[in-house]
Symmetry: C2
Subunit: 338 residues, 2 copies
Amino acid sequence: MAVTINDVALKAGVSKSTISCYLNGRFESMSLETRERIAAVIAEMEFRPNALARSLKQKRTHTIAAIVANILNPFSTSVIRGAEDCCKQAGMNLILCNADDDPAKEKEYVEMLLSKQVDGLIINTTGFNNHYIKDVSIHTPVVLIDRKVPEIQCDTVAVNSSAGSHLAVDHLRKLGHQNITMFTLPYKGISPREERVEGFRKALSLHGLSFHLDALIETEAAEDVLVSHLDRLMKQVGRPSAIFGANNLMTMAVIKAAKQLRLVIPDDIAVIGFDDWEWAPLMEPPVTVVAQPTYAMGEKAAATLLKRIKSGRLNKKPVLIVYEPELVPRKSCGEGGR
Amino acid sequence: MAVTINDVALKAGVSKSTISCYLNGRFESMSLETRERIAAVIAEMEFRPNALARSLKQKRTHTIAAIVANILNPFSTSVIRGAEDCCKQAGMNLILCNADDDPAKEKEYVEMLLSKQVDGLIINTTGFNNHYIKDVSIHTPVVLIDRKVPEIQCDTVAVNSSAGSHLAVDHLRKLGHQNITMFTLPYKGISPREERVEGFRKALSLHGLSFHLDALIETEAAEDVLVSHLDRLMKQVGRPSAIFGANNLMTMAVIKAAKQLRLVIPDDIAVIGFDDWEWAPLMEPPVTVVAQPTYAMGEKAAATLLKRIKSGRLNKKPVLIVYEPELVPRKSCGEGGR
DNA sequence: CTGAAAGCGCTAACAG
DNA sequence: CTGTTAGCGCTTTCAG
């Protein structure tokens, strides 16, 4: 049996409440002698207060949770690092869960975390629990990150995805590319993907380029599937000279497929990606990308959530924080000249 | 105020205990009619049982936690995926924490998780809380992953690191490399690193190669530091023809440094790494590595922990599970011929 | 400055 | 088949 506040009180020769005061830093009404004795007993008995009991009574857990859509995505881990640093600084605990791109898992995790009474939730949603999360956000502080869901009235941290697509297309055009194909994961209902696609369409049009049938390929990011798409594309007469990967997983998969087809980047085909990641500069050629400030976004999401929790004003109008993406030119679009 | 079991009981016209039975699946002693009525009321009121109260009483949380040393390391995320799948299948919850390579953070997280009464812990330890974790493991099921700590008597899932080093050296020798330098992070007190270094030393000796002063560089994995190390090494008369990176972070950093110095891999210098990662094949040249079965290790760690929890036999002799690493030859050691 | 008592939401005997 | 009761370990008035 674990040692409880009772055991400590007994051994220290005081009452439970005195121990409780001690635990909660209310030393004013306590002799220094008592205080020191309690400290000694706690250390000696290795007493660790039961957070379940404490939280049950206090109705706060001092814990927030972040649910990421896919922990294998470097985007997620970087966001997490930012959120973590913010929580630590604020004396809050952060626990992490991975939805693994599975809406059912996402929902289960939200359920579990709520039943554990977390004080708030940062969700990088899969995008398929909107109605449910909307319900949740009415009673519990929620901050959405990366993916906006208009029907959910809650604080959101996102990136200007449309601007990112413009950045990519502008860059490609500057380097002389006329025929650009964008590869995206299924984008319906997932705001950043939709905005990236829409931004791409608009950017093409601004540059007088047509958004023809093969300008957008919606596909899973599996290597074999991409190989066949790319192969087909490259055999056409009006074949693309550049590929735009809508996120880092897709970009990596495109590069894998290109290698498999023995296409040389950027000579045979240029590649630009949305999302930066640590080893993008290590690839050969280093991959040109449109980067998002992931760490800052994570930090901001946590800060926003903590503020919301502290204020207790769940019904106050939600804020939308939008970060601007940035072009990171490297070598994969033929930047050095051909 | 959240809805409680009392509210549900009242509305359903039964007692708390009946609701409790319902929640815990004890339907035997309950009319079908009652059962359905309760279900309806719960759905209607959106009742979500308070896990704090439940766990406080039951003394089990049905939750285990995994603390990884560094979530930015692909090794960690892959291990997590394995652990997750295992937990899900067993109906247990998994929560994640990131020690961020900081022993103080690691300790804080363990403290927090214990106070939250998690049923068990998977720890990829930073290696600097041994005494503390040993204490913890006496009362709480703990499984160590990746890093063994002999003084802690608990289940451990690791890889045969020494064999991995042999694999690397053998491969390099087969390709004609005579002068190999290993780059490692500070390895004292971190078992896999120590074993990799020791295995490397032994392998060199087996091949009649000397373990001279510059055969092992112990350093942080920061690009600028590596640049200066590598630069110095390459200017020597007996300069290395191959570099062995002791983990993936180090290998990536070595490659970064090599690029910066405009060294061509493998012509100027071959590179082999310990740890595989998803985009290793995407680099140019694709990086040859010694891979560990990370997903399987995560799965095994979780399974072992759950078994230990179920058995309740904390004092039963700990098991040590060792996986064998595997050589994944690609192109960074001059595999195709020079 | 310290202690007694009530109760957070739930479970688990045990009666009925 | 259902209800009563006594806690789980802690916090929090409110007396003394």
